[in-house]
């Protein structure tokens, strides 16, 4: 699967696009763990104390917010694109 990072998250990680190999039964949560393992400095930005995602952080799978799916339990396929970004600020 592929991660895309934006704005300050891309700056903190030092990369915008990250390809990771995942297990066949992997969930969004697994992909997030793998991302944070590679970039521990992102944890403070995206997680609250109990390991849940910050309210203001958006996590999309193929363009759809995981809140409208099964959250971190949503299962993913090898060719899925996940995106992580702060509140949008266009205009």
């Amino acid at each position: 699967m592929q991660w895309k990072l934006f704005a300050n998250l891309a700056e903190i990680a030092g990369e915008r696009t990250i390809s990771l190999a995942i297990d066949s039964d992997a969930t969004v949560g697994d992909a997030l763990d793998a991302l944070l393992e590679r970039h521990p400095s992102l944890s403070d930005e995206v997680l609250v104390a109990d390991g849940e995602l910050h309210d203001h952080i958006n996590l999309l799978i193929n363009g759809t917010n995981i809140h409208s799916l099964s959250g971190l339990e949503t299962s993913i396929e090898p060719d899925d694109e996940l995106a992580l970004f702060p509140p949008v600020s266009g205009g």
Binding site: K4, F6, A7, N8, H56, N58, L60, G63, A83, F85, P86, P87, V88, S89, G90, G91
Partner: protein
């Protein structure tokens, strides 16, 4: 309108070769550092019997020319000059360039593959102005029943109050693909409203200087009430829903805007 700039020795030859390979209306702007205006009046045109013309005038800017051309031309090619966000090929010394988005640096004019360049022009962000979008909605079905066009233009504000440190520029990045899909969804949902015929939006990306335009929303509607309401809802939804991110550069500092507003 798509743009391309070539800077350096032999740039006009490259521009001519690229222009030759493009289909559609092409404008060429050639930059000269000498002042050659000998007209005593402000503007002088020489119009030929076949309708072709040449002209000279006083005091225009590259921005104003590009804005004028953007509604009537598919391409504008600049020789010897560039500006922010215009894809630019540099011949020779790269340090000569102050603005523009360098896409290629080559040692000499002969090294440019003009047909490859002509093919690639459309891959870059087009030059879109408010006027471009107004012309677009006027050409849509329903235009003959429309009595109102409402528009919103968002621009870079230097100061919010007198004691603000001035904003020099904003830099926008977007989630390619998803941003466009969300904007299209907003456009089609708003256009489905009773009395609204067409909605179109455009958000520029990259570095945008103080005073420049950032975003446009244009609504073609039957009457003013739904036009005004829809244009306001359009910009509000764009700001809430479309994955675009803004970094602000002031005379004092640089920061991501969401960090300050949350």
């Amino acid at each position: 309108m798509h743009t391309l700039s070539v800077i350096g020795p032999g740039s006009i030859d490259v521009i001519d070769a690229v222009a030759d390979r493009l289909d559609g209306r092409v404008a060429v702007i050639e930059w000269s550092s000498d002042s050659e205006n000998t007209a005593v009046e402000d503007t002088r045109y020489l119009v030929h019997a076949d309708g072709t013309w040449s002209g000279q005038g006083e005091k225009t800017t590259l921005d104003r020319l590009l804005d004028q051309l953007s509604t009537t031309h598919e391409y504008a090619l600049l020789s010897g000059t560039t500006r922010a966000r215009v894809p630019t090929i540099v011949i020779g010394d790269k340090t000569a360039i102050e603005s523009g988005t360098v896409i290629e640096t080559v040692p000499d004019a002969d090294s440019v593959d003009s047909s490859a360049v002509a093919e690639s022009i459309k891959e870059y962000e087009p030059y879109i102005t408010l006027a471009t979008l107004i012309e677009q909605v006027k050409a849509t079905p329903g235009a003959e029943r429309s009595g109102a066009i409402a528009t919103f233009t968002g621009r870079v504000r230097a100061k919010d109050s007198d004691d603000d440190s001035p904003t020099e520029s904003l830099t926008f990045e977007k989630y390619d693909g998803v941003a466009e899909a969300r904007m299209e969804k907003i456009e089609s949902e708003l256009a489905a409203r009773e009395g609204v015929f067409s909605v179109t939006m455009h958000h520029r990306v990259g570095r945008i200087e103080d005073g420049e335009d950032i975003v446009f929303v244009v609504v073609l509607a039957g009457h003013r009430t739904e036009a005004f309401r829809t244009v306001e809802d359009g910009i509000n939804r764009l700001k809430d829903e479309v994955p675009i991110f803004k970094k602000e550069v002031t005379t004092d500092e640089e920061f991501w805007v969401h960090d300050r507003s949350s």
